[in-house]
């Protein structure tokens, strides 16, 4: 049941990206281009999304299990560190280069766009690179008798 719910959420998420224009990199870049002819639409996408989701998270934070009985798995990390900031900056640069973030990349892939396929494959390669680098770091920390946090 939770698997079907995940699929439905994915579909609705994707439909929202299409309807809102987020799945169109040219529109995203029009929002990021403050110095050009600015298209403020994406600020409205965020406002629309947050106004609905905020209600759900307010309900969720008071519960220990979901309405389907799954454990509540909300992030517990509160640390604001260099990883968070440097990673987000790197992501933002990539977002600005092509106008794609992960969700719209997958949706455009579903539209059969070859360029979206190139983006998604490179993104998966980047995620894989992260795993490899993290594992190496943990091994090195282990070799020095440290525990990787």
């Amino acid at each position: 049941m939770t698997i079907f719910a995940s699929w439905v959420a994915g579909v609705i998420f994707g439909l929202g990206l299409i309807v809102s224009g987020m799945a169109d990199p040219a529109k995203v870049l029009g929002f990021l281009d403050l110095a050009g002819a600015w298209d403020p639409s994406l600020a409205f996408v965020m406002a629309g999304a947050i106004s609905v989701a905020a209600v759900a998270f307010a309900v969720a934070r008071k519960r220990t299990v979901s309405f389907l009985g799954a454990a509540m798995n909300l992030p517990k990390t509160r640390r604001i560190d260099r990883r968070l900031v440097a990673g987000s900056l790197m992501f933002g640069i990539g977002w600005g280069v092509a106008g794609f973030c992960p969700g719209p990349g997958l949706v455009a892939l579903g539209m059969g766009e070859i360029k979206a396929l190139v983006f998604v494959v490179a993104m998966l390669a980047g995620m894989e690179l992260y795993v490899v680098l993290e594992r190496r770091k943990q091994r090195q920390a282990g070799a020095f008798g440290l525990r990787a946090g």
Binding site: A56, L74, V107, V120
Partner: protein
């Protein structure tokens, strides 16, 4: 600041945004999880038993969304101006960056801000600022 009124689509943006918010709401209320696309996708690279199906179902849902959209009409074609080299660079940066930063526009931007998470606010400010600066550099300094 010059607003491009012809490109500005506030109603579509709000309705589409509400759909995105609804998806995130369903995800947390039914599955107890954050609908963060980079995290859901990244977790599939080193599959852990019992932790694969819901991730794959969500990602497949995103990919087939354009097909479902066909029930209502034909989806607008994405305008992708970046060339292949730029797409590879962008993909690598987005892949590495979202994993180090533990989230993207959906996880930090939509879900994190909805939860009033200070950590997500910092991440969102960082990637938005980087996006603004990058587009400024590419469009107004390099060209």
């Amino acid at each position: 600041m010059l607003i491009d009124w012809n490109a500005f689509t506030p109603w579509h943006a709000l309705v589409g945004g509400a759909l995105v918010g609804t998806a995130a709401a369903l995800f947390v209320l039914l599955n107890g999880r954050i609908a963060g696309i980079s995290g859901v996708l990244g977790g599939l690279l080193r599959p852990v038993k019992g932790d694969v199906a819901w991730r794959a179902a969500f990602v497949i849902g995103l990919i087939v969304a354009p097909l479902i959209y066909l029930l209502f009409g034909s989806p607008p074609k994405p305008r992708i101006d970046a060339d292949f080299g730029a797409l590879v660079l962008a993909g690598l940066l987005v892949g590495v960056g979202t994993r180090y930063g533990a989230g993207c526009t959906s996880g930090h931007g939509v879900c994190g801000l909805s939860r009033l998470s200070p950590r997500s606010l910092v991440a969102t400010v960082a990637f938005m600022a980087a996006g603004f600066v990058t587009v400024f550099a590419i469009r107004h300094l390099l060209n």
